[in-house]
Symmetry: C2
Subunit: 413 residues, 2 copies
Amino acid sequence: MKDLRINGDRLWNRIHSMAKIGATPNGGVHRLALSQEDKRSRDLFIKWGQSIDCKTRVDAMGNIFVRLEGTKRNLPPILFGSHLDSQPTGGKYDGSLGVLAGLELLETLRENSIDLEYPLELVSWTSEEGSRFSPAMISSGVFGGVFSLDYAYSIKDKRRVSLKEALEKIDYLGSSTPFGRIYSGFFELHIEQGPILEKEKKSIGVVKGVQGIRWYELSIKGQEVHAGPFPMKIRRDPVRVLPKIISALYHLEKEFGSDTRITIGDISVHPGVCNTVPGEIKFTLDLRHPNSEVMDGMNQRIRQLVENENQESSLYLSHQELWYCPPAKFDLQCINAVKDAAKRLNYSFIEMFSGAGHDAVYLSRVTPTAMIFIPCKDGISHNEKESITRSDAIRGTNVLLHSILNYINQLKS
Amino acid sequence: MKDLRINGDRLWNRIHSMAKIGATPNGGVHRLALSQEDKRSRDLFIKWGQSIDCKTRVDAMGNIFVRLEGTKRNLPPILFGSHLDSQPTGGKYDGSLGVLAGLELLETLRENSIDLEYPLELVSWTSEEGSRFSPAMISSGVFGGVFSLDYAYSIKDKRRVSLKEALEKIDYLGSSTPFGRIYSGFFELHIEQGPILEKEKKSIGVVKGVQGIRWYELSIKGQEVHAGPFPMKIRRDPVRVLPKIISALYHLEKEFGSDTRITIGDISVHPGVCNTVPGEIKFTLDLRHPNSEVMDGMNQRIRQLVENENQESSLYLSHQELWYCPPAKFDLQCINAVKDAAKRLNYSFIEMFSGAGHDAVYLSRVTPTAMIFIPCKDGISHNEKESITRSDAIRGTNVLLHSILNYINQLKS
């Protein structure tokens, strides 16, 4: 099996067929979780799964599983996969690569008539991105016991549609239990979404863990008055203090070092009219760091900033933590399975941490887990310009295949 | 006629009956131009106009006129009024006061059987606020020859509905020509929407002119990337430069003095997702000053700011002027008619400039014009908390009545 390789043309064609669903004029995809576009991508994925003679199953979170039976049916399966939903203006490879690489891997085993002892299951997780239903990675979170099913069902999008209603609407509310299931391990292939592999001229990232992520919503409340007659000096204008608050937040990078990531991704103003001094500004804050003590230190700084500002100012600043996903460390045996695969395939690689959250984070809480990264052009992701090379996609998929073969050998020995 | 006074109860009741249309839970009104709420307020206004036996007329901009015939029918009428549309979360008195005071004035003349030589026309202007259809004061602008009718018809709201379509939809697209008409003068009673009268403890503001207003949209373009993996130092994050730009804009007040008004009323972020570094920020800027040279000086500073920023930064800053309404100076004879009315009625008053734009600005280009202000609580307007006292409303309406009577006497002499 050492010489086994996946079919690169078939992989690359499937990736670009999938990218037609929700394709945007600028070359990206718009395939929000549980939208009509998401439904079409799911239907196609299931069709492909069945075409290679695998059983498909949808669970109560809408996660889709494609199973290749093992010679020993009762062994806990090896799980691998990613997600098919996208950001509002996302790229063609984020998520899709990991799912379709999984499909290619199964087809390669099938056509080479290779029977493994362990059952294999390929999964496409529901609503990884979190851009329609926040928080992100909700269904792997339910799978990993981090969120309750009731909580996940109750999450609403901006139009007040609940996740459960959205599952029903596209007919993907399955029946099997979406948590508490036993697997032998989980592997996820993904684009890096950052510039490090490209800069270091490496083909494969052996991912040892993932940065912690904390999401906040901050609000500055002032007084809504008319833009004309009200003298500047007696206004309580929240926009006027925004520069100070934003600057203080970006200053966290200086204090906590260059592994810190600070993103203010959305700002909204109420009532949001040209000739009215706003009564309130709200904005999101996404903070990341690989070290959990640093994550706690930054959280404390934000509390202090809010307290200090409220003592000094006639405006009212508040903050709310929306979500916290602590830094994850992956399983040594899984990491070694990936590293050995890259070595044997003679691909250049480095060990690294992931800057983005992935379903693998929550999986790592309930089963041995590792990830494989491939480079993406200029490190750009969550963007319609997201781009990868055909040969990197093929390398990543071969590493995924051989990581799983290595891991099964380790389990047997 | 010196002792003639309006009926305060009737005025106050009408104001609060009108405020029920589009009433919000917090005591304000939501009555966007040409919405269903606006239609209901128009229907009620016309019903009231007809109930006092006046002719009503709707022109091709949807402006509503209520006419009390003069003994000399051919004299150019005296015009007065304001508007019935509101901000998204506006107050009960902004606009409505001036319209319903006009109605009360007509009814007072009717029930006292007073026949004036000059015809009187009360007007309710379409879409003064500009919050659904921008720019503001569109129909008085068409009336004053500042905007063409075709331009006004083509303006679209956020849902791409044109102003003409909106007029048709609520059945208020009349036939009479909405510009080029001859009037003897125009008077507008309005709440001050600022804190000056209250601070100076005066009942009446004799308004000599209005600040100039310039609206801009500014944009900062960066690069949309993933919030996690992309190192801070190589991001092109538009939020990061926002503090510098906003601070520079507020600095205009220091340079151009305390009559300057700077308002950033709306900010929008694209794509506006928690875990994506934004590709673009857009925001509105509303600049005001009573002096037109200062208005030009500020405009030049903004151009410089944009140029300098683009030389220094890897982001792309741009600005677009959306609208400019130069400072207005009102007619001396009209101003004196208001001042004499306040004096004879024994109400305290000051002469002042308006900080807000009003339909009177564009009217002043084609007919002698003045305005009357009354105080509003804490100067708060464009806000559901907007509040005035019953006695100030009555005083303002009596001043409107006697200003018109004075003005007619002046015209005759």
